[in-house]
Symmetry: C2
Subunit: 247 residues, 2 copies
DNA sequence: GTTTCCATTTGATTTCGGTCAAAGTACCCT
DNA sequence: AGGGTACTTTGACCGAAATCAAATGGAAAC
């Protein structure tokens, strides 16, 4: 592995990336502790990063870009099991990494920590362990939320759930509250959506067309979506309340 | 809430329950720290425990028995999102609990901690936070493993996956290695299996019958199962390797 | 022993989503 | 502009699992 510092710390100055554990802006003190054991590495969109087994003895954290965690069966069936946004971690400190592939959805910069010093640090600086625990609990909730989607929702509800999640995440980024319509770009291909939802890409396409026909969503282009009424979309998703959602 | 100490610490003397955070046997020192803020409570099999929202301001840990975490949609569709075995935790320290119901699969004893002192304790005793993090990471892996099952496996593969998981957990409890056939009692009704697998109970029944007909499993009684060849079962489950599995 | 209740099995039919196939669309590249 | 490629849409058909319905089994209660 060749690892090379490619991240300019000054990028972080207004903290747009919410890099909770290591952000130079909001966590300068911790950053200094970590400095000696971390490396930055960048990946191109579409690249698959094998993050399993012993050789990959690193814990990684997304600095910028989006990646997805995927599991693949030997016959090719794949299931996306998580979305990695800036500040999210991958890799199991304290043991061999789980057999997931990390796929860069966009260009990606990751911050990699060698495991051993990372673990030591968690013990010596309990607030980092504490924060990592909070994040892991969030991810666990998201994963469980998704289990309901995968196990019990119809194709139409699955699509609505995914759009609702992305829309809300976008809305929270843009601070635009609940007012009026929400517009966003889909960062996923139809196939990626299918892998996330446990569907085929044809079904994804059909259900998006159906939601468009029923005026639940509007498509400016294939990837640019408007949601005129968020409440309506959430009904379609079968969500009763505004409970937990993915990241 | 009436909470009452009903757990005899001497039960724990050979540590059959792996009660990692509070076991009187293996973690006596920690137990003493926790003593003042914890309460034991027992539940009957079949009882549903609402563990969400503000009023339930507790973190719970299973002392003995089995419980399941379930999510329910307003139209009654339910999905089991986790199995709680002795030593597992429920409840999100540091925030409102997630909207899951805890259903006692067997008679159950839980150890409940008031959240605030529990959180303080995590900061003051970092090794507990560390251990909780490990357990949460394990659960996250299990949840993600299950996402593949829910999203991409056929009914037959789902059943085989569940049986394989239970069989392996049992085998590890009985220290009986990989040798020969494995016999165990199903702790779940067909309906509970269906809720776990995102199927209907009829499909569960049909697939179990099919596996029986094909000699992958043998049923002594409806709940007593023999697996003559574990490798065969794992093939049926579509598992290529012996990767991670649930709890 | 027999009645009751619940879990389970089995059957008949329907339906949702998958599969296979073809056509349409946008974007990049000389 | 033309042509290639990757992504997306749409159609026709099929099959796995859901749904509806009834029968069977097994254990506790009377």
């Amino acid at each position: 592995m060749t690892l090379k510092a490619q991240f300019d710390h000054t990028n972080c100055s207004e903290c747009p990336i919410r890099h909770r554990a290591v952000c130079a802006h909001c966590e300068r003190d911790e950053l200094e502790e970590l400095e000696s054991i971390k490396y930055y590495r960048s990946f191109e969109a579409g690249q698959t990063i094998i993050w399993s087994g012993d050789p990959m003895n690193f814990v990684g954290s997304v600095v910028s870009g989006i990646a997805s965690l995927t599991q693949t069966m030997e016959d090719g069936r794949t299931q996306m099991v998580g979305l990695l946004l800036p500040s999210d971690f991958v890799g199991r400190p304290g043991r061999e990494n789980a057999p997931y592939d990390v796929v860069a959805t966009t260009d990606l910069v990751m911050c990699c920590f060698r495991k051993k010093p990372f673990e030591d640090m968690m013990v010596t600086t309990p607030h980092i362990a504490q924060r990592l625990l909070q994040m892991t609990l969030d991810e666990l909730d998201a994963a469980r939320e998704w289990m309901l989607v995968l196990g019990r929702k119809t194709a139409r509800e699955k699509i609505a759930s995914l759009l609702s999640i992305i829309a809300r995440r976008d809305a929270s980024l843009h601070q635009s509250g609940q007012t009026g319509s929400i517009i966003f770009d889909l960062p996923l291909t139809r196939e990626a959506m299918a892998d996330y939802l446990g569907l085929t890409l044809e079904t994804v396409s059909r259900q998006i067309s159906a939601l468009k026909k029923d005026k639940v969503i509007t498509l400016e282009s294939k990837r640019h979506i408007t949601i005129p009424d968020m409440r309506r979309l959430m009904e379609e998703a079968g969500d009763d309340t505004d409970g937990g959602f993915l990241v």
